[in-house]
Amino acid sequence: MSGGVYGGDEVGALVFDMGSYSVRAGYAGEDCPKADFPTVIGVTLDREDGSTLMETDGEKGKQSATTYYIDTNQLRVPRESMEVIEKLTELMFEHYNIPAFFLCKSAVLSAFANGRSTGLVLDSGSTHTTAIPVHDGYVLQQGIVKSPLAGDFMSMQCRELFQELGVEIVPPYVIASKDSVREGAPAIWKKKEKLPQVTRSWHNYMCNTVIQDFQASVLQVSDSPYDEQVAAQMPTVHYELPNGYNCDFGAERLKIPDGLLDPSNAKGLSGNTMLGVGHVVTTSVGMCDIDIRPGLYGSVVVTGGNTLIQGFTDRLNRELSQKTPPSMRLKLIANNTTVERRFSAWIGGSILASLGTFQQMWISKQEYEEGGKQCVDRKCP
């Protein structure tokens, strides 16, 4: 038993949570990850003129591209891609030579972060909104429901909004100086001289950060389905883009995120084939045995950066109470702090890895050598 080899308290574990937007890493037993960096690989390209790389404008985490970030989505692949999971196990033991390893699904860890082993984990991140039923620490595969309506969808809608307003999205690295202009007036700014060539992908990446900042600051989910008249009376929020364009945003604040909950009104979606967040949850629960549904509705764990939009949980609560039987007790567990919501899977991993019983759960190097990479299938639910 691996517990005998390692003497209990002296053992520390590293916890990694790899998502499509960012990677969280840190030490087990701590409250939050030490490192949180974007899941992007930056690669330098050889330039004809042999000039050095351009520095970005001092934002942390986006250093010059000699640093390699890890872009791995392995922990979020569906069960069928066992080869990927096995490959990761192999990589860890063979290449990095680690003494012990354990993989756990993010949804399960999000439930664990709240001290529970059963719940419906609703994870809305950048690429997908997924409902994952977790029961007694195991994911119920048949109940997983995915929708592409998530952060990126809203970014797309924001971009379209700016397009309609005739506003160009200019990332900060391009701007040398800007003038202050009246609200709604075209931006007046000066481009930096001697801008080196950058790849299209990097430029898009920088534009995305502008949009995402706008998303985080301005958007709000209304507590009832979108209504033009109600939205018109919405208090406005003033926002200024890096190039100086500034505007008061009112109805759009509500309209854009409403697409997440009620896609029938959203632009650019053909028909009603997309599921709103409420339906993602109810469909997922509906795929599970009727006996466990009260347990799932009683613990809807809301996680993922996209759920941090103001008003999201209240509206979700309302949607779900309308869709579930009146006798069903509904409880949304949504951590109040940004940190906890974005890092719930990591925090769950941190708690799990710090438990005394964890030593019985992990795969030791010895077990790997004896059992091969298939042992990950056996030991990691």
């Binding site: 001290g115 795929m287 009727i290 009260p294 006798s327 007790r329 438990l355 005394g356």
Partner: protein, 464 residues
């Protein structure tokens, strides 16, 4: 120690009512049990047994009878108690049950029992068992809520939890219920003081995982056993489909499983059912089966005995086309020479449907069985069967439709599924019929559907 109590305490309820068949023996066993586990656990055990028997009883009613039984044991097990203390006390309790304002749980059968006297009355009362609908599952309160309730009144919390849990697991051995409730209370004990610690709760829950999962499996399987009349036939078709077995093989397997459940589900001791399930695992994973089986099946059989059954339960059933077809109904079904005529017919009818849950499949097969059996015992079998032919055809068509509906339920999202059902179910009383189909799909398409509810919903369906 606990095992002794588990065996003996039901003796308190049942055997003491057979008082004149060895009253001293029964009393001594009960008193030994009380001495072994102490008054608290004794009372908990009695609460479990009565909550299981009378799930519709209120907490006060169940507490009341548990109290009286405990007091009886306490009083009459003392060294200085009179020899007939026990018998007198038990009689008093049964008298009370028949009283107008009985503080004990109610049961529609009590009135009839009370028309009897003395020993017969006691036996009648002892055999009462409530067959109410399944209760909705317990919601899981947050850790904070658990701690708030627990710290208010520890003893009360403990007993209430036992009551609520037991009445929702009424057809499994009481020993499992007691084990589960004790685990839960211990979790509260450890994790609520001095502060509420999520990591403590998580650790406790992780440790309870496998027993919880097993409990759910057992509860489902025993509920089916107790409530579904033709469970054996449903099981045959189910195994035939899941494992690709012939009628003979499937029948043998389901017979084995069924008799084990019949013997042990309602026995308070856990050992009985564990033994049966272990021996069943050997049968199902036996040599003759292994060769023809899928890789997933092999993986399941490599696990420890009880885990194998859980694993098999999770295997996906594939649609299958049995080479034999359920022949058009003829009087051959009833012939003496073919004792399995009807059984085979039922098997062939049910075996190709991979998407229906056991309760639904069993209910429909039961209906077919009743129709055919009724004809087989009638004066003119052939005429009877000819008359019933269209009814049987309709029932078979219903089975196919249920199969399609459930398969669709898992393929489509809920809103899309609802729209489809609305489109399909048209005509008179369309809305009611659509709702009946929706209710059935939502509650009964899952693998572990509740037996009684689904029996009811299937019947509702056929009347629309």
């Amino acid at each position: 120690m606990r095992n002794t109590a588990v065996i003996l305490i039901p003796a308190l309820i049942i055997t003491t009512l057979l008082a004149d068949k060895g009253k001293n023996y029964a009393k001594e066993n009960v008193c030994q049990g009380l001495k072994d586990i102490g008054i608290e656990k004794f009372k908990e055990m009695v609460t479990v047994l009565y909550s299981q028997k009378f799930p519709n009883g209120t907490f006060q009613e169940v507490s009341c009878v548990a109290d009286e039984m405990t007091k009886l044991a306490e009083k009459c097990c003392k060294d200085d108690a009179s020899p007939d203390c026990y018998d007198k006390g038990a009689t008093e309790i049964s008298e009370k049950s028949c009283g107008k304002d009985s503080p004990f749980p109610k049961h529609p059968g009590i009135e009839q029992c009370c028309t009897l006297q003395g020993q017969e009355r006691k036996l009648c009362l002892a055999s009462l068992r409530y067959t109410a609908d399944e209760l909705p599952s317990l919601t899981e309160p947050t850790n904070e809520e658990i701690c708030t309730e627990y710290t208010k009144d520890e003893k009360d919390y403990s007993v209430r939890y036992v009551y609520e849990f037991a009445r929702r697991h009424r057809n499994i051995p009481a020993g499992f219920v007691l084990n589960a409730t004790q685990n839960h209370v211990r979790m509260a004990e450890r994790c609520c003081r001095p502060d509420i610690k999520n990591s403590c709760f998580l650790q406790e829950r992780l440790q309870m995982r496998s027993s919880n999962i097993f409990l759910k499996f057992l509860s489902n399987v025993c509920n089916n056993q107790v409530n579904l009349k033709s469970f054996k036939f449903g099981l045959s078709a189910y195994y035939g489909n899941l494992l690709g077995l012939s009628f003979e093989e499937a029948s043998a397997m389901s017979g084995h499983f069924h008799s084990g459940l019949e013997k042990c589900c309602l026995k308070p001791q856990p050992e009985c059912i564990i033994e049966e399930l272990t021996s069943f695992q050997k049968v199902i994973c036996g040599e003759s089966n292994l060769n023809a089986m899928s890789e997933d099946f092999h993986k399941c059989c490599k696990k420890p005995a009880l885990d194998t059954l859980l694993c098999l339960d999770d295997l996906k059933r594939q649609p299958r086309q049995s080479p034999d077809v359920a022949n058009p109904v003829s009087s051959k079904l009833c012939e003496e020479a073919q004792p399995h005529g009807i059984d085979r017919y039922l098997f062939l009818t049910g075996v190709n449907h991979a998407s229906i849950s056991l309760p639904v499949l069993t209910t429909v097969l039961d209906r077919i069985k009743n129709t055919v059996t009724a004809c087989c015992s009638s004066a003119d079998i052939t005429t009877c069967l000819t008359e019933k032919e269209s009814k049987l055809k309709m029932t078979q068509a219903l089975l196919s439709k249920l199969d399609d509906t459930c398969s669709r339920y898992f393929r489509l999202d809920l809103p899309a599924f609802k729209t489809r059902m609305q489109k399909e179910v048209q005509g008179e009383g369309g809305e009611k019929r659509t709702q009946a189909w929706l209710d059935l799909a939502i509650s009964c398409c899952s693998q572990r559907s509740p037996a009684q509810l689904c029996q009811k919903l299937v019947s509702t369906l056929t009347y629309h």
